[in-house]
Amino acid sequence: MTGRFRRLAETDRPAIRLTVDGAPIDALEGDTLMVAMLTAGDALRDSEFGAGAFEGHAGDGRRAGFCLMAACQDCWVWTAAGDRVRACSTMAQDGMAISTHQPEASWAAVT
């Protein structure tokens, strides 16, 4: 058991496969990206701020979303291409590659 979320119903759906931080995860067709990621793992991103820098992370902790209705903006993750998507309101697609860590300073070196 590594997932934060627990599936209670609707488990009879076709499987899809994504990668998160390079590691493959299994999910189901119809999952939001958030559900796909949090049934397989326990966080979506790092908080940017806060005093308690820990274990090589910058802010005060890992974050795993909050409102699930596209209001709190706590669940932004990054695609392999460096684009940003809101995990709670983006459908998971087979083959997606997602990063839970903000790309390093190289984000700016895109022309």
Partner: protein, 379 residues
């Protein structure tokens, strides 16, 4: 019933960065000061601007004043006892590919600026992108000032006001002056609620509202109230040290950005909107946000990947020639002006305060102030 009358050496109308820093430097010189602010200090142009602490690009005649200001910015934390987030992280001014004639103008400017003590480094497109790889292919050339930077406008004017108060200045907020006149020796100021303030010296630092105050003394100065187009992105890893701006004659292309230490990127520029000083209102027009995004994406394509989380504006007063008015009144002895900074007052603000304090306290200043004269409009 009559309210008690407040007597001071100097009364200041307008609690923006100019008024607050003038109050601080006047108090430092031992003068008693009452600073009168309709709302809260630093809420309009001073608190809502981009936060550029930039000398580069200012008219050459402004550089002595800008140099004075930069010395204050560098010492701001110690002087004010609070952090205004000043970062001397450089400033680049670039021109776009379709305006190659700007290169000559940049060279000419750099030469003149050097004589005023501002060192600028001119960089070709390749040299620029080598150092600042986030600049877009539309950027043709740039001029880099290592000793410019940026600060937090929300914090600056209130920090000067608090420091002034510690030196004994009276910072009087929520006090709208509805009338002022000079009777014999003193200026008599009346607030909306009837309170009276008297002082032999009156300094008008009322930004977009200053034209009205000057009008009470028959010094008619038309000011156009405008509203800057500002945005800020979500936080991203700190990667962009200098503030960046575009040199262009076309307002819609005049965009700029800077990254704060926390990671957010402040975006500014493109077309300004009207603002409404009488209602104390300004609005960001969405169409201007859209042109701002468009031109910023040319300037630094990586910005297009980011999300803007908030936009804002404020009320700025523009003169006819978009240059400030600063110095003694042409009509009334004891009356001084420092307003009309036309969207470009933040960097020089503390220098303006110090210069006005010097002028008021000693009757003279080394800063050449003739180009700022109020009577240049023929009034």
């Amino acid at each position: 019933m009559t309210s008690p009358i407040t007597h001071t050496d100097v009364a200041i109308i307008g609690g923006g960065l100019m008024g607050c820093s003038a109050a601080f430097f006047l108090a430092q010189r031992g003068l008693s000061v009452a600073l009168l602010e309709t709302d809260k200090v630093g809420r309009q142009a001073s608190g809502t601007n981009f936060g550029n602490v930039r000398r580069q690009g200012r008219p050459i005649f402004q550089l002595p004043l800008a140099n004075r200001a930069i010395r204050i910015w560098r010492n701001a934390r110690e002087m004010l006892g609070s952090d205004v987030e000043y970062l001397q992280s450089g400033h680049i001014r670039v021109c776009f590919r379709e305006r190659p004639d700007n290169i000559g103008k940049m060279e000419e400017y750099a030469q003149q600026a050097r004589e005023e003590g501002l060192e600028l480094e001119l960089l070709s497109a390749n040299a620029l992108r080598e150092r600042f790889p986030w600049l877009g292919p539309d950027v043709l050339a740039g001029s880099y000032s290592a000793t410019d930077g940026h600060a937090n406008p929300r914090l600056a004017a209130p920090a000067f006001a608090r420091a002034a108060a510690r030196l004994g200045a009276q910072i009087i907020e929520d006090t709208q002056i509805v009338h002022a006149e000079k009777l014999v020796e003193d200026f008599h100021l009346t607030a909306a609620d009837g309170r009276q303030f008297r002082a032999p010296i009156l300094l008008v630092t009322a930004g977009a509202w200053a034209g009205k105050v000057a009008g009470w003394f028959d010094e008619g100065i038309p000011l156009t109230p405008r509203a800057p187009t500002m945005s800020v992105t979500e936080p991203v890893p700190y990667a962009i040290a200098p503030a960046v701006g575009v040199m262009t004659p076309d307002e819609v292309e005049t965009v700029y950005f800077r990254q704060v230490a926390r990671g957010n990127i402040v975006l500014g520029g493109s077309t300004r909107a009207a603002s409404y000083p009488d209602d104390y209102r300004s609005y960001v027009l969405p169409e201007n946000t859209m042109t701002q995004f468009q031109h910023l994406s040319r300037l630094a394509p990586a910005l297009a990947r980011l999300n803007v989380i908030r936009v804002w504006s404020g009320i700025e007063g523009y003169t006819q020639d978009a240059l400030p008015i600063m110095g003694p009144s042409a009509r009334v002895p004891g009356l001084f002006h420092a307003f009309g900074f036309s969207g470009s007052g933040f960097q020089i603000g503390p220098g303006v305060g110090e210069t006005m304090a010097e002028l008021i306290a000693t009757g003279a200043t080394d800063i050449p102030i003739a180009p700022y004269a109020v009577n240049r409009f023929g009034g």
